[in-house]
Symmetry: C2
Subunit: 429 residues, 2 copies
Amino acid sequence: MINIGLLGCGTVGSGVVKLLEQNGETILKKTGKEIRIKKILERDVEKCLELGFAENCITEDIKDIVDDPEIDIIVELLGGISPADEFIIEAMEKGKHVVTANKDLIAVKGQDIFDTAENQKVDFYFEASVAGGIPAVTPLKQSLAGNNIEEVIGILNGTTNYILTKMSREGQDFDDVLKEAQDLGYAEADPSSDVYGLDAARKIAILASIAFNSRVMLDDVYVEGITSINAVDMEYAKELGLEVKLLAIAKQEEGQIQVRVHPAFIPIEHPLASVNGVYNAVFIKGDAVGDIMHYGSGAGQMPTASAVVGDIIEIVRNKNYNSNARIGCTCYDQKPILNINQLEGQFYIRMAVKDRPGALAGIAGVFGNNNVSLSSVLQKTNDWDMAELILITHNTSEQNLRDALAVLKGMSIVGEINNVIRLEGMDKK
Amino acid sequence: MINIGLLGCGTVGSGVVKLLEQNGETILKKTGKEIRIKKILERDVEKCLELGFAENCITEDIKDIVDDPEIDIIVELLGGISPADEFIIEAMEKGKHVVTANKDLIAVKGQDIFDTAENQKVDFYFEASVAGGIPAVTPLKQSLAGNNIEEVIGILNGTTNYILTKMSREGQDFDDVLKEAQDLGYAEADPSSDVYGLDAARKIAILASIAFNSRVMLDDVYVEGITSINAVDMEYAKELGLEVKLLAIAKQEEGQIQVRVHPAFIPIEHPLASVNGVYNAVFIKGDAVGDIMHYGSGAGQMPTASAVVGDIIEIVRNKNYNSNARIGCTCYDQKPILNINQLEGQFYIRMAVKDRPGALAGIAGVFGNNNVSLSSVLQKTNDWDMAELILITHNTSEQNLRDALAVLKGMSIVGEINNVIRLEGMDKK
């Protein structure tokens, strides 16, 4: 018998309870052990009673759980950083293994927790913290462990992917779709952590740490949200054979790491371009395996419970063989993380210019002077006196592009620089 | 130091040698052990010398390897059933762990090998046997272990997917594209194991066994190849919003299993529909995780080597913790496998009929009499006297459909039944 202490019995917690019950028979066959939730830390007693727990299983005092010598595994589903971090560390110090879905915690306090797990020789598993039920963490640690990972690019936030998919398909503007998504329950009342890219940033920090074997924290991630994307850019994207996605990007080149979250244009031929709606995906490039992608539900009660229960099963298998902690923290390197200004890439620029002779020559000259070379220029005349320019650059440094844009903003022929969007995965076009 | 005995130093074998060297430093950090290929079973001595091996490492006698007490892990890349099976069993009996990419062997002799591994408490890993570098076997055994798996649908053969993609994009016929693929080296001189579906059948037998925890052998798989697909069907597929793929399908319903390989029409919205060219994918439906898909290179030297080296790393981690055999055979159930005639599904039927009053009524009547109900009928007149009928059925049993077709074949108004193709994943439309 394996005893679990469940911290938090909200949506995912109830899912874990259901799943352990529903598939208990096969899990017993796979692990040779019955798995029981012995105690739950939860204020909402009623909810736990409804799930069939006896009143003496439910507590509001963490001590009842961490001090119970019969409890083998803690499943932390409280979310947030404190007190989850103290509870986890306390539990580990009492020799308990920990499963969590808490991305905020790992992206900020990962190091402390991994250190404690290593000292205590306990397991710390967190597959559910990234991309819900999609196996993302485990394959990087195991099946793909022979690779030098060069890229991890994720669509890691279902809310923003739903919004962008709907904007792209129906030509609507961001604010309208967000409102609709909120009405339908696909976006929260306060959607800021989703639409400003923070949620995706936490997840890519976790994946980058594992992929590159070097700790990446939330603060290391450059973040831009999707609020500046609008229907006009979507339309031009289509003309250019591109799709807009909020990408969480981690790359490693010559021992240096870059990690960033921002909207990006990708070619419609890229596997990530057909990841639509609330679905998530993790695209990985390894030096041996080449391009692979994992796709599925990135959130939701049962997909997340699937990841949690998968981790529980692994811990039980480890317990059976006394091999807990066999895969611990894999951040054995310390690689420098590049600043966004040091990066190179291609850019889409949409700007309004006065329709005068020599205007284009003047603008092209500014790019040239700043070492930004242009791959294509599309001119659209929309007002009687103004033209819209759509420029795509060749590979260029972010710094050079910013310098060029700063000069352009001061020019009398330039009306407005409407949008600048990065291009990714253009080798797939 | 971990010593490996490599059986076969062909394409994949050389890839494993290269990868262990190329990423040796990080693999050492991940496992704490140096991994060395100590001996190679290979007739082509020259090739091994070119890879940097000393002459005394190369042997043609398996005894030099299985009797070497220093060798910890055997990597079997000979292919075929005999003598690979004897070599593996002999090695296990000497306490050695085994990694293989040999799908033929597992799909036919899996049981014997798993039994030996269990008795000897050694690891038997075979991620490379299905879908090359894509993590397919491991996620089913680990991350997704909490699920009751309902479906595994794979595009598991790169050659046929390349042919079908090219037929679909360019409107060419099967024979022309096959010749082209052979000229380019994407199809073998004898392409029968690919185009008749046998290669995919072996792989789905392996995946089904793991997904459903019940042994599925090659002989249990119903197999149809792609040779009957032609440009006309491809064109109609497009009109109907469908794409043709050679699917390897395993489903479990109420404790009964169905396993089959055949060409199928799937909606273009299905994640598998955009898996093109030589790429492979494994689509999985679990009761908790919902729909997920793993996508990548299903073959090739380095992707396959990636899977082999991932398995080697797992075995070394197990050795470090003395936990080898912690995940053994998971076929603890014996579930009945349904005959193809017992299955239900939707069908596309293309037939030539004489353009006479009442012809359609007569044909529809035959389907009705056999309990086959039609979802849509499309009539195209192509010759002066003949019409082409494209029929899509609702869900119906294979047996009923066959009965209906048998009657139709005998009718004077029916010229020819040109093609019958199954539909899959229509819930994604």
